[in-house]
C-alpha cells in the first residue's frame, strides 16, 4: 500500500459514490417540506451551523484516520479504533473526576495525556499478541471493541451513571467538571473547535516524523515484509510495537477530544457515528499519506453530515455506511494488478520462484500516471 490508490482512482471512487448518493437521495422526499437537496445543503455547507457540524463530524474521523494510517504504514491493521477511543475517553473521565478542582488548562492537558495512555494501553494487548506470537491484529483489535463497548455500558449505566438525566437509549455518565472543555473559535457564523486544529497539527507532525526520521524508514521497511526485514538485519519488532501502541494512543486522544469538544460527558453515543471505522476508510482513500488524511477526513465528515440530515428527514442514515464501503472498494480495486505483487508472493513460499521473470507489462496504474 506504499503508493496507495492513484489520484485519478480516488476521484473516480468519490464520484461513483456521489452518483449512488444522488440516485438514492433523489428517490426520497422530505417530510419537512422543501426539497431534500435543500435540506442537505442547509445542514452542510449552506449555513454556518452546517459547516460547523461538518467540521465537528470530521474531527474524530481525522484522529481515527491518523491512527489507521500510522498502522498501515507499518503493514498492519488497526480495526480497534472505536475501542481505543472509548478507553481513552474513559481514562480521561476517570482523571477528570479525581482532579475536579484543577483549573482548565492543566485539567485538559491531563485528560488528553490520560486519553493517549488509555488508548495506547488498550492496544498493548493485541499489539503484544501480534508482535510476539503473530496473532492476527485484525481480529485481535476488532474483538476488543466489543469488550470496550460493554465496559462503557457498565460504567455509564452503573458506578458513574447520571441518575438525573434520561438519555433515551443512550447511557450518560455524571457530568465532568465545568472547566473540562476546549476553546472554540468562531469565524463568521462557523465555529472551529481547537480539537480539529490539534488534529491537523498532529497530522503535520506525524508526516514530518515519517519523512525525516529513522522511525519512518524502519516503518517502511517493516511494511515491505518479513523477508526484507530479515535480509536487512534490522529488527523491527520494536517499531511494530511502538506503531501499534502509538496508533492506539492517537485513537484514544481522538476519544478524549470528542468528549471535551462536543459531548462534554462520557456517554455511549461516543461511538454512535462509527467514526472509528470510517477513519480507516479515510486513511485508505488518502493512500495512508498522513497529510492526505486531513482532506479525506473532511470529505467523510461531509458525508456524515449528509447522513444526519437524512436521518432528521426520517430516511435511513445507513446509506452513509454503504457509501463509505463503496468509496473504499472503488478506490482500492485493482484494474490489472501489477505483476510484481504476484511474483513477490510466489517467492515467499518454500519453493523457489520460477525462472527469471519477464519484463512486467505496464499496468493501467502506470498508464494513468
Amino acid at each position: 500500500m506504499t503508493a496507495g490508490p492513484s489520484p485519478i482512482r480516488r476521484v473516480i471512487a468519490v464520484l461513483a459514490a456521489a452518483l449512488v448518493a444522488v440516485v438514492f437521495i433523489s428517490m426520497q422526499s422530505s417530510p419537512l417540506g422543501g426539497s431534500v437537496w435543500e435540506q442537505i445543503w442547509l445542514s452542510t455547507f449552506g449555513t454556518g451551523l452546517g459547516t460547523t457540524s461538518v467540521l465537528q463530524l470530521a474531527m474524530p474521523i481525522l484522529f481515527a484516520g491518523l491512527a489507521a494510517a500510522v498502522c498501515q504504514r507499518t503493514g498492519m491493521w488497526n480495526i480497534g479504533i472505536p475501542g481505543q477511543m472509548i478507553m481513552g475517553a474513559w481514562t480521561a473521565t476517570w482523571v477528570a473526576y479525581h482532579l475536579s478542582g484543577v483549573p482548565q488548562a492543566p485539567l485538559v492537558l491531563a485528560m488528553m495525556a490520560a486519553g493517549v495512555i488509555g488508548g495506547g494501553l488498550w492496544m498493548l494487548l493485541p499489539a503484544l499478541a501480534r508482535v510476539y506470537l503473530g496473532v492476527s491484529e485484525i481480529i485481535g483489535t476488532l474483538l476488543l471493541n466489543f469488550v470496550a463497548i460493554q465496559w462503557l455500558i457498565y460504567w455509564t449505566g452503573g458506578p458513574w451513571a447520571n441518575t438525573n438525566q434520561n438519555g433515551g437509549g443512550t447511557l450518560i455518565a455524571k457530568p465532568l467538571p465545568a472547566q473540562a472543555t476546549l476553546p472554540q473559535f468562531t469565524i463568521g457564523s462557523t465555529t472551529i473547535g481547537l480539537a480539529l486544529l490539534i488534529g491537523v497539527a498532529l497530522a503535520v507532525v506525524l508526516a514530518a516524523v515519517y519523512r525525516y526520521t529513522q522511525f519512518g524508514y524502519r516503518s517502511a521497511l517493516a511494511e515491505s515484509g518479513d523477508e526484507l526485514v530479515r535480509y536487512a538485519g534490522i529488527s523491527v519488532w520494536r517499531t511494530r510495537l511502538v506503531t501499534l501502541v502509538l496508533s492506539g494512543g492517537i485513537a484514544g486522544l481522538g476519544g478524549v477530544l470528542l468528549v471535551l469538544d462536543q459531548l462534554h460527558v462520557l456517554s455511549t453515543s461516543l461511538t454512535a457515528d462509527n467514526s472509528g471505522y470510517v477513519g480507516i476508510v479515510a486513511a485508505a482513500l488518502a493512500g495512508n499519506a498522513l497529510l492526505g488524511v486531513v482532506p479525506s477526513a473532511l470529505l467523510f465528515g461531509f458525508l456524515a453530515a449528509i447522513g444526519s440530515a437524512l436521518q432528521i428527514m426520517d430516511v435511513s442514515g445507513e446509506i452513509v455506511t454503504l457509501l463509505t464501503g463503496l468509496v473504499l472498494i472503488i478506490a482500492c480495486i485493482n484494474v490489472g494488478k501489477p505483476r510484481f505483487l504476484a511474483r513477490r508472493s510466489s517467492a515467499r513460499g518454500t519453493s523457489p520462484p520460477s525462472a527469471p521473470a519477464p519484463e512486467p507489462a505496464p499496468t493501467l496504474d502506470e498508464v494513468a500516471k
Binding site: T213, S224, L228, R230, F340, R344, A347, A355, P358, E359
Partner: protein
C-alpha cells in the same frame, strides 16, 4: 472404481500411443511472444520427433522456457501455430496440453509442497477416482510409480523430499497422464551429478519407448551427452538446429552468445590476506532441513571464496550466518577488520538468492537504493534523515547500476529481473566494504551483464574485500574462486585450494560421495 486394481484405465500404457519414431510429434511454427515491450520470442520454429531427445540450448533469457511454456499451455503465444502429430491445435491451458499428451516438468517441478506424493500425482487429473480413501490412494500411487520404474514413497510430503525425488514425482505425474511428449526444463539444475546420471538413464529409456523428449539446458557438456538433435536459441530467435553428430562444443558455445565476450581475467594475486571472519564449530537451526552443522571456516581479505553445492544444502543459512543476520546456536563466529574484532554487520554486503529478498518491490527505487546506507551518516544525523542527501545518493547509485533512464520514484517491482539484479549488486558492492556475500549473483543475467558483475566482484577482491561466492553454477565457481568449499547437508564436505581444483572431485563432494 477401485483405485487399487491395476487395469482400471488409470494412466496409459507407456509408449502405447506414441507417434512412430521419425515423424514430427510436435511442431511449433513462427512462435512470437512479447512481455510488455520486450520480445521474448521472435518467430521461432521448433520440431520434435517421436523417440528423440531434442535439446533446446541457450543462455538464460534466450527464450527456451518461454517457448516450452507455450507448448505446454502455461503461456499463450502472440502469433504462430502449434501442431501435434501433424494436426494444428490450440493449447490455451495446461489441461488441454495434457490431453494432447504434452507434459512439462518445470525447473522447480511445480509440486504442491505440503501435499503428499500420492496427492500430487492425483490432483487435477480426471482419471483419479472421484472418491478415494487415503489408503487406496497410497496403493494407487505406489502402483503408478512402479509402472514407470521410478520409486518414491507415496506417503511422504513433498517438502521432505530431495530434489531428485521431487523430479521423479514430477516425471511420473507427467507420464501417468499420458504424456508422449515430455518437456524437461533445466532438469539437472538442482541435481547432484549422481542424480543427474540416473536421470539421463531414465531419459534414454523413455526415448527408447517412443516418447519425444525436449531437454532444456544451458550446459554444453550434458547437452552433448544426452541429445539426438540440438536447437540453439539466442535472444528469442532460433540460431540453428543440428544433429548431435554435426555439433561441436566450441561451435555451440559460439552460437549461444552473440558476440565474443572477453574472458574474465583470471590473474591470481597471491596476497595472503588477514582473516575477516573466523567461524569455529558454528551451528544454525533446530530442525534437519536448512541446518548448518559445526561449520569451521576462515574468510580472508583479498580472496574469493567459492561455496559449491546443490542448493538446499545450507547455502541460505550460511549466507545469513556470514552476514550476521541469523544467530548461531553454538560455536563462535568472529568478524575482524584490520585485525580488530568488529560488529558482525559492519561493512557487509549481501546479494541474496532472490531479488525479492533484498528489494522492497512495492517501494520506490529511491527507497531501495538507500536501504543499506540510510541508517548511517551522512544520510542520517542523529534521528533525522537528510532528504537532499538521500535523493542525491539514490540517483547516483541508480545511474551507476546502468538505470539512468529510470525515475527513482518508480516502484522497484516494475523493473525487469536483470535490472533488479543490477541495482542489488551495485548497492551491495557499496555496502560490502569488508565482506561481500554473493548468492547466485549472475542468475538471470545475460552474458554481458554476467561478465560485468563478475568483473566487479573481482575488482572488489582486488580492493581487499573478502568475497564469498555461493553459486550452483560450478563453472562460475571454478572460474572466479581462489578457494572452494563444498556444502553438503549443512556440513563443509571439503575444501580445495586453487591448484587442487578438479571438477570430478567437486562433483563427488557435492553428492556427498567423498
Amino acid at each position: 472404481m477401485s483405485p487399487a486394481t491395476p487395469d482400471n484405465g488409470v494412466g496409459t500404457v507407456p509408449g502405447g500411443a506414441s507417434s512412430p519414431p521419425g515423424t514430427a510429434a510436435l511442431e511449433l511454427t513462427g512462435i512470437v511472444k512479447s512481455f510488455g515491450s520486450q520480445r521474448a520470442l521472435d518467430g521461432v520454429n521448433f520440431e520434435l520427433r517421436g523417440g528423440e531427445v531434442h535439446t533446446l540450448l541457450g543462455e538464460n533469457g534466450a527464450g527456451k522456457t518461454t517457448l516450452m511454456n507455450i507448448a505446454s499451455g502455461m503461456l499463450r503465444a502472440d502469433a504462430g501455430s502449434i501442431a501435434v502429430d501433424g494436426k494444428k491445435v490450440s493449447i490455451p491451458t495446461p489441461a488441454v496440453a495434457m490431453s494432447y499428451g504434452i507434459g512439462m516438468v518445470h525447473q522447480h517441478y511445480r509440486l504442491v509442497e505440503r501435499l503428499t506424493v500420492a496427492e500430487n500425482l492425483a490432483i487435477g487429473w480426471h482419471e483419479t477416482p472421484r472418491v478415494v480413501s487415503r489408503g487406496a490412494l497410497v496403493d494407487w500411487a505406489a502402483e503408478v510409480c512402479d509402472r514407470y520404474g521410478l520409486q518414491v514413497e507415496p506417503r511422504a510430503a513433498v517438502d521432505t523430499l530431495s530434489a531428485g525425488e521431487r523430479q521423479r514425482v514430477a516425471i511420473v505425474r507427467a507420464l501417468s497422464r499420458g504424456a508422449r511428449i515430455l518437456i524437461l526444463d533445466e532438469p539437472t539444475a538442482l541435481l547432484t551429478p549422481h542424480e543427474a546420471d540416473a536421470l539421463f538413464e531414465n531419459v534414454r529409456r523413455m526415448a527408447g519407448e517412443g516418447h519425444g523428449v525436449v531437454f532444456i539446458s544451458h550446459k554444453l557438456r550434458e547437452v552433448m551427452e544426452i541429445s539426438d538433435r540440438i536447437s540453439v536459441l539466442r535472444g528469442g530467435q532460433l540460431v540453428a538446429t543440428l544433429a548431435r553428430a554435426d555439433a561441436e562444443v566450441r561451435e555451440l558455445a559460439r552460437m549461444t552468445v552473440a558476440t565474443d565476450v572477453p574472458d574474465v581475467p583470471v590473474e591470481r594475486a597471491s596476497k595472503s590476506g588477514r582473516p575477516i571472519l573466523v567461524a569455529t564449530g558454528a551451528s544454525v537451526g533446530d530442525h534437519d532441513e536448512g541446518r548448518l552443522h559445526e561449520i569451521d571456516l576462515e574468510i580472508r581479505e583479498h580472496e574469493v571464496l567459492g561455496v559449491a553445492g546443490v542448493s538446499g544444502n545450507g547455502q541460505v543459512q550460511l549466507a545469513e550466518l556470514l552476514t550476521g543476520t541469523c544467530e548461531h546456536d553454538s560455536g563462535t563466529v568472529t568478524q575482524f577488520e584490520g585485525g580488530e574484532a568488529v560488529n558482525p554487520t559492519k561493512g557487509v554486503g549481501h546479494i541474496p538468492e532472490h531479488h525479492s529478498q533484498g528489494l522492497a518491490l512495492a517501494a520506490s527505487l529511491e527507497f531501495n537504493a538507500v536501504l543499506r546506507s540510510i541508517t548511517k551518516p551522512p544520510l542520517r544525523r542523529g534521528l533525522v534523515i537528510s532528504r537532499r542527501r538521500l535523493r542525491t545518493a539514490a540517483r547516483e547509485l541508480v545511474d551507476r547500476a546502468g538505470l539512468k533512464k529510470l525515475q527513482v520514484q518508480r516502484p522497484a517491482g516494475t523493473l525487469s529481473g536483470g535490472q533488479m539484479q543490477r541495482l542489488l549488486v551495485h548497492r551491495e558492492l557499496d555496502a560490502g566494504s569488508r565482506l561481500l556475500v554473493a548468492v547466485h549473483p549472475t542468475r538471470g543475467l545475460d552474458v554481458a551483464a554476467t561478465n560485468h558483475v563478475q568483473m566487479e566482484l573481482l575488482a572488489a577482491r582486488d580492493r581487499g574485500v573478502a568475497v564469498v561466492l555461493i553459486s550452483e553454477d560450478l563453472d562460475e565457481v571454478l572460474e572466479m574462486s581462489d578457494r572452494i568449499v563444498v556444502l553438503y547437508e549443512g556440513r563443509i564436505a571439503g575444501e580445495l585450494a586453487r591448484p587442487e581444483f578438479d571438477r570430478n572431485r567437486l562433483g563427488l563432494l557435492m553428492g556427498g560421495a567423498a
